[in-house]
C-alpha cells in the first residue's frame, strides 16, 4: 500500500523491476526495509511513546519471510503472523534473528 502497488495487478511490473535491479526483492514477499521499514519503525517508536505496552505485530506473507522477520525482531514488534505452513519457518527465523542480533 505504501508503494501504491496492487499485488493482483503488478506481477509483471515487479518481475521487470527485479530484472532491472530496481527492486532487490519482491516487496510482497520481503518487506522493503528502507521505505516501508521506516514507516513501520516510526509506528513502533511513536506507538510505544504514547503507550509503552502497545501490542504491535505484522501480518501477511512478510510474516513468513526470514529477512523480514529479522527486521521485525530488530524494530521491536511483538509478533509476526503468517500462513500456517510458514509458522515453523517463522519460529526458526525468529530464533536466528535473536541470535544474530544479540
Amino acid at each position: 500500500m505504501g508503494f501504491g502497488f496492487s499485488r493482483d495487478d503488478t506481477g509483471n511490473i515487479i518481475k521487470e523491476y527485479k530484472e532491472k535491479g530496481i527492486f532487490e526483492d519482491d516487496p510482497f514477499q520481503s518487506l522493503d526495509q528502507v521505505g516501508i521499514g521506516k514507516l513501520v519503525k516510526m509506528a513502533v517508536e511513536l506507538g510505544k511513546k504514547t503507550r509503552p505496552n502497545i501490542k504491535l505485530g505484522i501480518c501477511g506473507e512478510h510474516g513468513g519471510d526470514p529477512k523480514s522477520i529479522d527486521f521485525c525482531h530488530r524494530v521491536g514488534l511483538q509478533y509476526v503472523s503468517c500462513s500456517p505452513f510458514r509458522v515453523p519457518i517463522a519460529r526458526l527465523a525468529a530464533a536466528q534473528a535473536a541470535i544474530r542480533n544479540k
Binding site: 505485530g57 501480518c59 510474516g63 526470514p66 509478533y79 503472523s81 500456517p84 519457518i89 519460529r91 530464533a95
Partner: protein, 743 residues
C-alpha cells in the same frame, strides 16, 4: 601493493571473500598438514578487475601469476612446459559461495606436443599420456574457446567407427594420435589459429575463461535462484595435477562425512577406480559406493577416514570432500561444508550438539529456514502407497514425495506447469541447461548418474524430490516416451516418485501430512527457547487454525472475515444486504448472517483454545460480492424481489476505478455501521459461548482495517464498543476485549 595471487600456504579458511570457498579451503587443508597437491589461487578481486578493465587481465596480475607459478614449479619439482619433466595443472573456478556444476574445470593443462612425450616416458604409459592430451585439447576447445563439444565427439566417435570398436578403452596410442591431429585441424578451422603450444598462453586463456564463466546464463540463473550477488566474482584455483586414471591402483571419488540424505553418521560417497574426477560428477560412469573403496584400497581408505574425521572436527560441520588416489597415494582436492536435505540438516545439527561439537545456538543457525519447508510437506499415504504399483527403483537422490505428469525436457515441463499441471521431469541425465525445468517440476527422474550427479546435487539443494540413476527405465527424449518393464508411458501420463526410497510408482499416489516430532521437534524447541518474537498465523477457518497450532502458532494474527461471506448459503444474504434500500432492510439481511459469523468464530476459538485471535472487520469493497454478469444480476433481482433496473443502477454505483483505494476498510464500517455491529456481536457472542462451553479464557481482539486517521478509528471503535456493551448487558457477562487497527 595489492596482492592478487596467493599460494595455498599463504591463505586460510577465513579468506573466502578473497580466495573463494574452494581456494580458502585448499589453503586451510594445506595449513593443517593434509595431503593437498600444491598450487595457488587468483583472487576474486582479480576477477572484479577483469570486468572493470573491459575483460582484460592487468599486466601486474599476470606477473603475480608467473611468480606463484615459479613457486609451484619449485614445490612440485617439475617445470611448466618442460619436455622431460612437465608440470601439469588443473584450473578450476571457486566463488565465495559454492555454485555446483555452474563453472567449468580444465584438467591436464600444460600438455603440448612435447610435454605429452615427457608424460608418456615418466608414466611409462603412452596411451595414458595421449589420452590425457586429447582430453585436455577437447576441454580447452570446449570450455575455454567455446567450440561445440559435439564437433569433438564426431572426430572421436569417427575414429571408433573407423576402427570398428565400441569402447573408448579399445582405442590405442596411434588412434589417439590420429584423433589429436583431427582435434588440431578442428581448432584451426574454428579459431583461425593453431592450438596453443605454450603452456603459459594456455594458462592465461584458461584463467580468462573462468572469469568469463562467472557471467554465463546458467551461472546468472543459479545466482538469482540462490540470492547470490552478481558482483562478488570468482577466484581461480591453479593446482598441480594428480591422476586418478593411472591404472588400477588409482581412482577418484567424492564423499561426505555424514549422509547428506538422512544425516546418518557414516562416510557416504562414491568412488571410481581408474578415473578422473569429472567422470564421477558428470555421471558418465555410474560409480561404486565408497564402502567398496575399503576393499580395493584398505590402507588408503583408513587414511581417508582419518582425514575426514579431522576435517569434520576442524570445521565443526559435515564436509563434502573430493579426493584422488594416484598410484596408491591419497590426495585431497576439495573440502567444503556439504549441502544436505532438510532431514539431514536437522539430524546433523541435533547430533552435533549431542557430540559436544556445536552449541544449541549453532544448531539453530545451521538450519536454512526456507529448507524446513521440505519437512512440512506431505509424504505418500502409506496405505495408498502399498496399493500402488511400484514399477522400478532408482537411487534415492533427494527425499520427499512427488506425483505429476511426465515431460521429457525442461521447456515442456515449464510450459505444462504454466498451464497449471503438476509435472515430473524425466531425463536421461540432467545438465545445468535443465535448471529451469527442474525448478518448475514436482520431481525429477533420471536414467543415469549417481547420488552425486548433477540431478541429485541440484535437487537436494532445491529440496525437490529426485530419483536418479534409474538404470531400468528407457527414456526416449526425442520420442517422448518412458519405458519401464512392459509399460510405455507417454508425455502427460502420471507417475509418482519416492525420493526417500528411490521407488518409481505408477499413477497418482495420495499424500499425508509430515512427522513433526523427533529431531525436528528438538530443533524447534531450541528455537522457541531462544526467540523473543512471537509467531502467530493468518487463518480464517478452523482447519487452517488447527494446522497452524500443530505447527506451533501462538495465536491468530489475522482472521479475515470476507471469505466467510462467499459461501453458497450466505452470499444471497450479503447481496440482499448490499442492495438494501433502507437501514432496516440492511439490518434484516445482516441478522440472517449473524449466526453464521458466530459459528465461524466459535470454530476458530475452539481450534485455538486460549490462544489470542485477532479478527479483522470486513475489508474488501462491496462490489466484490455482487454478480458480474447481467444474467446473474437478473437472477438476483428475482431472488430478492427487486426490479432488475434498480439493481443494475446500484451495481454501477458500486463500481470503482481504484477498488484498492476505494470504498473499503474502515470506510465500510463508517458508512454502514450495521455491518460492524453485526460482526462485533458475532465475535463477542462466539466468545461468550465458547467461554461457557469450554471454559477457555478468551480475550477477543477486533481489528479495524485500513485506518488513515485517528478520527476514523474513533468512529468505528465507538460502534464496536457500544455494540459489545449492549451484548454484555443483555447476556449478563463481561470480560476484557481489545479493539485495534491495521495501518
Amino acid at each position: 601493493m595489492k596482492k592478487f595471487v596467493y599460494s595455498f600456504n599463504e591463505g586460510s579458511k577465513d579468506m573466502r571473500d578473497l580466495l573463494g570457498g574452494k581456494g580458502a579451503n585448499l589453503a586451510e587443508m594445506t595449513k593443517i598438514g593434509l595431503p593437498v597437491p600444491f598450487g595457488f589461487t587468483v583472487t576474486t578481486e582479480a576477477c572484479t578487475r577483469y570486468y572493470d578493465e573491459g575483460e582484460t587481465i592487468g599486466q601486474d596480475i599476470v606477473d603475480d601469476i608467473y611468480v606463484k607459478l615459479a613457486d609451484l614449479e619449485n614445490v612440485a619439482g617439475k617445470k611448466f612446459g618442460d619436455a622431460a619433466n612437465p608440470l601439469l595443472v588443473s584450473v578450476r573456478s571457486g566463488a565465495k559461495i559454492s555454485m555446483p556444476g555452474m563453472m567449468d574445470t580444465i584438467l591436464n593443462l600444460g600438455l603440448n606436443d612435447e610435454t605429452v612425450e615427457g608424460l608418456s616416458a615418466l608414466t611409462e604409459n603412452p596411451r595414458f599420456a595421449y589420452d590425457s592430451y586429447r582430453r585436455f585439447m577437447q576441454m580447452f576447445g570446449d570450455v575455454v574457446m567455446g567450440i561445440s563439444k559435439s564437433k569433438y565427439d564426431v572426430i572421436f566417435d569417427g575414429q571408433k567407427d573407423k576402427k570398428g570398436v565400441l569402447f573408448d578403452v579399445d582405442l590405442d596410442v596411434d588412434d589417439l594420435k590420429e584423433i589429436i591431429v583431427g582435434y588440431k585441424a578442428l581448432y584451426k578451422e574454428e579459431i583461425g589459429k593453431d592450438f596453443p603450444q605454450d603452456p603459459k598462453e594456455q594458462l592465461m586463456e584458461a584463467v580468462k575463461a573462468v572469469f568469463r564463466s562467472w557471467n554465463t546464463d546458467r551461472a546468472i540463473l543459479y545466482r538469482q535462484l540462490n540470492e547470490i550477488p552478481d558482483d562478488i566474482g570468482t577466484a581461480v584455483n591453479v593446482q598441480s595435477m594428480v591422476f586418478g586414471n593411472m591404472g588400477d591402483t588409482s581412482g577418484t571419488g567424492v564423499a561426505f562425512t555424514r549422509s547428506p540424505v538422512n544425516g546418518e553418521k557414516a562416510i557416504f560417497g562414491e568412488f571410481l577406480v581408474n578415473a578422473q574426477g569429472e567422470d564421477v560428477v558428470a555421471g558418465i560412469r555410474t560409480p561404486q559406493p565408497i564402502a567398496e573403496m575399503a576393499q580395493a584400497f584398505p590402507a588408503v581408505y583408513d587414511d581417508f577416514v582419518k582425514i575426514a574425521n579431522t576435517l569434520e572436527d576442524h570445521y565443526k560441520d559435515m564436509q563434502d570432500m573430493e579426493f584422488t588416489v594416484e598410484r596408491g597415494k591419497l590426495y585431497m582436492l576439495q573440502t567444503r561444508n556439504g549441502k544436505r536435505t532438510a532431514p539431514s540438516a536437522v539430524k546433523i545439527a541435533v547430533d552435533m550438539v549431542g557430540e559436544g561439537l556445536i552449541s544449541k545456538e549453532d544448531a539453530v543457525m545451521r538450519i536454512e529456514p526456507g529448507q524446513i519447508d521440505q519437512l512440512l510437506h506431505p509424504m505418500f499415504d502409506a496405505r495408498e502407497l502399498e496399493a500402488a504399483e511400484k514399477l522400478t527403483k532408482g537411487l534415492p537422490a533427494s527425499p520427499g514425495a512427488a506425483c505429476g505428469q511426465i515431460y521429457f525436457n525442461a521447456a515442456d515441463a515449464e510450459a505444462a506447469v504454466a498451464n497449471g499441471e503438476k509435472t515430473i521431469l524425466v531425463r536421461l541425465e540432467t545438465s545445468p541447461e535443465d535448471l529451469a525445468g527442474m525448478v518448475a517440476a514436482e520431481g525429477i527422474l533420471t536414467a543415469r548418474g549417481g547420488m552425486t550427479s548433477h540431478a541429485a546435487v541440484v535437487a537436494r539443494g532445491m529440496g525437490k524430490c529426485c530419483v536418479s540413476g534409474c538404470s531400468e527405465i528407457k527414456v526416449d527424449e526425442e520420442g517422448k516416451t518412458l519405458g519401464i518393464g512392459d509399460y510405455v508411458f507417454k508425455e502427460g501420463d502420471f507417475i509418482s516418485l519416492n525420493g526417500t526410497t528411490g521407488d518409481v510408482i505408477k499413477g497418482e499416489v495420495k499424500t499425508v501430512p509430515p512427522e513433526l516430532s523427533g529431531d525436528f521437534g528438538t530443533i524447534m524447541e531450541w528455537a522457541d527457547e531462544i526467540r523473543t518474537l512471537k509467531v502467530r498465523t493468518n487463518a480464517d477457518n478452523p482447519r487452517d487454525a488447527k494446522q497452524a497450532v500443530v505447527f506451533g502458532a501462538q495465536g491468530i494474527g489475522l482472521c479475515r472475515t470476507e471469505h466467510m461471506f462467499f459461501e453458497e448459503e450466505r452470499i444471497p444474504a450479503i447481496r440482499r444486504m448490499i442492495m438494501a434500500d433502507t437501514v432496516e432492510e440492511r439490518r434484516e439481511a445482516l441478522s440472517f448472517l449473524l449466526p453464521y459469523q458466530k459459528g465461524d468464530f466459535k470454530g476458530i476459538y475452539e481450534a485455538m483454545e486460549e490462544r489470542p485471535v485477532t479478527i479483522r472487520l470486513l475489508d474488501p469493497p462491496l462490489h466484490e460480492f455482487i454478480p458480474h454478469t447481467d444474467e446473474e444480476l437478473r437472477e438476483l433481482a428475482e431472488q430478492i424481489g427487486k426490479p432488475y433496473e434498480k439493481l443494475a443502477k446500484k451495481a454501477e454505483e458500486l463500481h470503482e476505478f481504484n477498488p484498492m483505494l476505494g470504498h473499503r476498510g474502515c470506510r465500510l464500517a463508517v458508512t454502514y455501521p450495521e455491518i460492524a455491529e453485526m460482526q462485533a456481536e458475532a465475535i463477542i457472542m462466539a466468545a461468550i459461548e465458547v467461554r461457557k462451553e469450554k471454559g477457555y479464557d478468551i480475550v477477543p481482539e477486533i481489528m479495524v482495517p485500513l485506518v488513515g486517521m485517528v478520527t476514523e478509528l474513533a468512529d468505528v471503535k465507538k460502534t464496536v464498543v457500544e455494540t459489545i456493551s449492549r451484548v454484555f448487558e443483555r447476556e449478563g457477562v463481561e470480560f476484557p476485549y481489545l479493539v485495534g487497527t491495521m495501518i
